[in-house]
């Protein structure tokens, strides 16, 4: 597969994987730690969405599905499919516990991307594409426009019934 097309496809798949899992696991509902609360409120003050801001704050403050997806891909690239993904899931879970997080989102993200990488390897998408793709996917959430990204994340949270009740 062409490298650029592969990276673009991997970025889209990784984005959907981590946003769906993180939203489903309730990241936009409430900040897990004080830092996530501060980020959420700062994003809202700048014209963004509070639930989306909490989402962004939570993925900064502990390894959620975004980190799980990235580390799962790195594990598969460095160690192999599926061992690398399984080892990444265990390490992400330990990281979650150290960051005061129950660890469901991160672990699910690492395991789901391992399954996705194993399945898409049949059509030529290799783990390296997912490593680059996931970096691009996180960039769209954290690196381009916090406010616009938070509004989109807020809309997804509303659709999935995970919008914050905090104001």
């Amino acid at each position: 597969m062409n490298e650029l097309i592969g990276i673009a496809a991997a970025a889209v798949i990784s984005w959907i994987n981590f946003v769906i899992i993180d939203t489903w696991m309730g990241l936009p509902e409430s900040p897990g730690v004080k830092g996530a609360d501060a980020i959420g409120r700062s994003v809202k003050k700048r014209g963004g969405d509070l639930a989306g801001g909490f989402f962004q704050g939570n993925i900064v403050c502990s390894p959620d599905a975004s980190a799980g997806t990235l580390l799962g891909a790195v594990g598969c690239y460095a160690i192999g499919i599926p061992e690398g993904g399984f080892i990444a899931a265990l390490l992400v879970y330990i990281g979650n516990r150290l960051c005061a997080d129950p660890g469901y989102a991160g672990t699910t993200g690492a395991l789901s991307i391992t399954i996705i990488i194993a399945l898409t390897s049949f059509i030529g998408l290799n783990p390296a594409y997912y490593v680059v793709g996931m970096v691009i996917a996180i960039l769209t959430i954290q690196g381009i426009s916090h406010t616009q990204a938070s509004i989109l994340l807020g809309k997804i949270a509303k659709k999935m019934g995970r919008y914050t009740k905090i104001c």
Partner: protein
């Protein structure tokens, strides 16, 4: 990815480790699943994180250690049992809940 005969055994071993982790977890009285809503629960259960620990440890051992005891099945069973006992008796002491919440 092409699945060879050896890989079939590895997949079987992962399955064995997970099954033994869950069964032994239930024997030592871990709940099968955390209480609902699960995403907010800190309860250690037979499925989460015991099965995840068994899966991760199996991957580390199978990747790093050479073994041939019944094609790794004995190692997989030992890992499963160890994971359940570790989760039940040691996990909360090594990785306590926030606020020093050791049960």
């Amino acid at each position: 990815m092409i699945i060879h005969a050896n890989e079939t055994y590895i997949i079987l071993n992962y399955g064995l480790a997970i099954i033994f982790a869950i069964v032994v977890g239930l024997i030592v009285k871990l709940p099968l699943l955390p209480e609902r809503p699960m995403r907010d629960s800190w309860t250690l259960s037979a499925v989460f994180p015991t099965a995840i620990i068994a899966l991760g440890l199996s991957a580390i051992i199978f990747k790093m250690v050479i073994f041939d005891l019944y094609l790794g099945m004995v190692v997989a069973i030992i890992i499963g049992i160890f994971s359940a006992l570790f989760t039940k008796f040691l996990f909360d002491h090594i990785f306590p809940k926030p606020g020093g919440g050791i049960k």
